[in-house]
Subunit: 311 residues, 2 copies
């Protein structure tokens, strides 16, 4: 399949790798022609890292499936699926989707990577609004496979399905969101946990590092290969309903203490920031991000092997 | 150090392995003498599995450091640290802590594995209440290292520190909780996320399997080696405070939709149960638990290797 990637920043680069790794032909375009040239170089570096981690087999063939395009017309020519990755500003989304909808062939899917703007906010007035939707990745999508798929009320079900199929064809893990909502699913779950985490530190029950240890050495382990529902399903003799009936009262009683919606205070933010800077000085943030990406690569390789071995 | 494990069920067995793996001499006792014999057999099986997974080197030496005791007096004789694992009933905790406090040598730590009862609920009237506290593990502690340490208001700080040191000496990851609260830290964080998860399915935004995919293929990956604070610290150019200022508004706006404290309805519980049973029939629950434990073993081995390689 011919796939167009529109916007060649970090997310656009990562998508190009995902689609080419999955065997598709990828064209990459950016409003700034110089950005595409530099993106192609950065992509080659990332592909070399993936090869070194054992996550891909044929880096050269993969890279040959990615090429740059000079114009929006060229990137969309013959494309069956478009993944858009411009900055998170609704006016920019409106403008690019208007242009893409005029140029792209009928039936071509127009998907946006936005994490914060619903499709209804920038597609309502388009003749081809039924082929527009969100396909929200987690960065970088070649290491974190989930993709949240969320249409506007007018998005065609067949377009949602085609997007799902494209994602499955490249080994991503699509999740269908049935109605628009802020934060989609992933960030709402993250938000719920973060709110309690901020609160527990603010009220002095635990310090920030202790809270992180609780997750990375405990709570987060199962969640890296089972979801929260499967986790509780296996944590009571008779499964999920048994668990919910045993512990529902406890969780409800805890929930009654978790209803605060106060904004995070500046004092709390500064306290948490100070705690992190004691562990990781600001000048080491970049190095630690590279460490994180190596750990994500290692985890991805581990999960692939584990899934083969323990069906 | 001589360590006493009181109560030889699943958690007691797992603690015996943790302490013996860490080089301590372990004595194991149970109200039912037959339970100890069977526990020693089960422990040998678990140790063989750990050896097979590459998680321990000398299974025989480890097993030789664990022996059964016939009486409470015998298990406590010479012990410097006691880990109690009776059922989650406050009357049983009161009774056993009363007996242990009479018998154990002065200075011996009396720690309970309870996940739901604060130490103040069963130690207040004891002469040795200052040496009593909670050391709450996640099952099984030889694969999930976090231990939540939480004293009563009268627990001696030196006892908290000694418990911390014992846990570190065996490779566990202790977390200090500064005041008693229901659910400690781990289950409060789990509860906050579960509540939103139940709600999102109830309101029809996503189905249960889609929600699990969102976590196991996305949100849960970073949390298996970084906590939530380190995760956001690395997710904005200038670190945690930068992240909190960029996204605090979004999370607060989401939080305003997350304040419901209604109990989980029976209809919702049955819907989630039905969704799980379609994926995993009830008769496969046990096999899937063994799968989970193999995956946890694989993940533990992966994390050990990754921590060595990517300092």
């Amino acid at each position: 399949m011919n796939i167009a990637v529109v916007g060649s920043g970090l997310i656009g680069q990562a998508w190009a790798i995902v689609f080419a790794r999955g065997g598709h032909e990828v064209r990459l375009w950016d409003g700034d022609p110089k950005a595409v040239t530099s993106a192609l170089t950065l992509i080659a570096g990332q592909v070399a890292d993936l090869k070194a981690a054992g996550l891909i087999d044929h880096p050269q063939a993969l890279l040959e499936r990615i090429c740059g395009a000079q114009t929006l017309e060229e990137v969309l020519d013959g494309a069956e699926y478009v993944q858009e990755n411009l900055p998170e500003r609704v006016e920019m989304k409106k403008e690019i989707f208007g242009r893409m909808d005029k140029i792209a062939a009928p039936g071509c899917v127009l998907a946006s990577s936005t994490s914060s703007i619903p499709a209804s906010a920038f597609t309502e007035d388009l003749p081809g609004r039924a082929r527009c939707l969100i396909a929200h990745p987690v960065n970088p999508p070649y290491l974190v496979p989930v993709v949240e798929i969320c249409g506007a009320p007018w998005t065609d079900a067949a377009i949602v399905q085609k997007t799902w199929d494209v994602m499955e064809s490249v080994g991503q893990k699509p999740v269908k969101i049935h109605r628009e909502l802020q934060g989609f699913i992933l960030n709402r779950l993250q938000g719920a946990l973060l709110r309690e985490a901020f609160k527990l530190v603010e009220q002095g029950y635990v310090d920030a590092e202790g809270l992180d240890v609780t997750v990375r050495e405990g709570l987060g382990l199962r969640w890296s290969f089972m979801g929260p529902f499967e986790t509780i399903d296996l944590n009571a003799p008779d499964g999920l309903a048994d668990y919910a009936r045993r512990f529902g009262g406890m969780y409800q009683s805890i929930a009654e203490e978790q209803t605060s919606t106060e904004p995070w205070s500046e004092a709390l933010i500064e306290k948490l920031e100070a705690s992190r800077r004691k562990i990781l000085p600001k000048e080491q943030l970049l190095a630690r991000r590279l460490w994180r990406d190596r750990r994500l690569m290692g985890l991805a390789a581990h999960k692939l092997a584990a899934e083969k071995n323990t069906k």
